[in-house]
Amino acid sequence: MSSDVDRWAAERAAELRARAEAEAVAVLRDALVAASLGERARGRARESTPAPSPQARAEPGRLLWVYCVTRAAEAELVGVPGVDDAGRVERIEAAGLAALVSSVPRAEFAEGPLRSNLNDLAWLERVARAHETVLEQALSESTAIVPLRLCTLYAGEDGVREMLAGERDAFAAALDHLAGRQEWGVKVTVDPELVTEAARARHQGAKAVEEETAAHGAGGAYMLQRRFDRDVRELAHSLATELAERVHGRLEAEALEAVTRPPQNRDLSGHEGEMVLNAAYLVEADHIDELREVVATLEQEHGALGARIELTGPWPPYNFVPGGGTAGIA
């Protein structure tokens, strides 16, 4: 019996050894593959971890939001709330200039999250109002400020200092240009019903002719009515445009510079009537009383069309920074 087993074992030994070796190799191969995959995964994880900022004073997980630039001696505004609750407003000085900044969390303001947050109107409103509030406070404590566009962000203080030093000439020129001047906004709305009424009244002559010829039967009368309605509509349009042009022309004469903007969306502005003019004017600070008087006079002159002229300001001079808007500083 045992000799049978021995013989079988002897015959199969080579085969068994080969199989055992193959299994051992397979196990070893799997272990090696698993180990090397783990290594690669750890390597990737290491790569995607943000490198620690080289700047000495950058807080981990925070970025610096820049509001505006002033002359170094001005806008002592420090410690007021910023865009993020945890970051109070601070000043960073360089090249005779000061930047007002506050820290904001990377989790909310790094490129990825910022991209989606900017499209969230509630988030955008909160941030925009906070930005505006800081700018208004800075404006009331300075001869001039250069407002920066929303979401100007730096990794640390050194970056802000470099920016101030690098653009010192452009900032100095802008601050000189804006000193002692104020941006004021003007929006003109009209009552569309009153405008249409005025247009109809002006069109009375044609209406009389029309009534004479209305004897041409029902079809003719219908066509004439349609033409009359169209004429009134066109006249109403030109009345509204003329009013906007006249108001803008008078206010432009009081201002150093002027810009016109598209009418605002009622959902956001909540205005009544139709907005026919949305403009901003750069005015000498000592000329504001005259501007108010002109606005009041214009509103009275155009009362027949239900004109309302809203004057707001002073605004941070967003619309009048030399090189502002799309051109900007690279």
Binding site: T152, Q264, Y318
Partner: protein
């Protein structure tokens, strides 16, 4: 007296008090489009593209209504020019889709033997 009838913003808001009474449209049209643009450490030169949805919400409704009234003050504003072609592209896309749907409907009606027959 005259001045008090003009709704002017406070010239010196209390520190820390949000000016929540200010019209949101007034603020957004300034902070999104105006002010000095500096490339900081966070690159959001995608601003113009990414904000398009908000920009559209801000502008389209009012702009269309104003054009109806013959008001087109802002036409010289470069930042808004891009809205024109976008609208045109959207319109032609809708027109094309409309045409395609009409063709499909006709094919289906023909296959089912309805439509033309029932009209007669």
């Amino acid at each position: 007296m005259e001045q008090s009838s003009l709704p002017a913003r406070s010239t010196s808001p209390l520190p820390g008090r949000p000016a929540s009474d200010t019209n949101l449209a007034d603020i957004l049209e300034r902070v999104l489009d105006k002010g000095i643009v500096i490339a900081g450490d966070i690159q959001i030169n995608l601003l113009d593209i990414e904000l398009l949805t908000v920009k559209l919400r801000l502008l389209i409704a009012s702009v269309d209504r104003a054009r109806e009234m013959g008001i087109n003050w802002w036409e010289s504003d470069a930042s808004l020019k891009s809205l024109g072609p976008t609208q045109d592209a959207e319109r032609s896309r809708l027109e094309q889709e409309n045409g395609e749907l009409r063709e499909r409907l006709e094919r289906i009606e023909r296959a089912l033997g309805v439509g033309q027959e029932s009209d007669r």
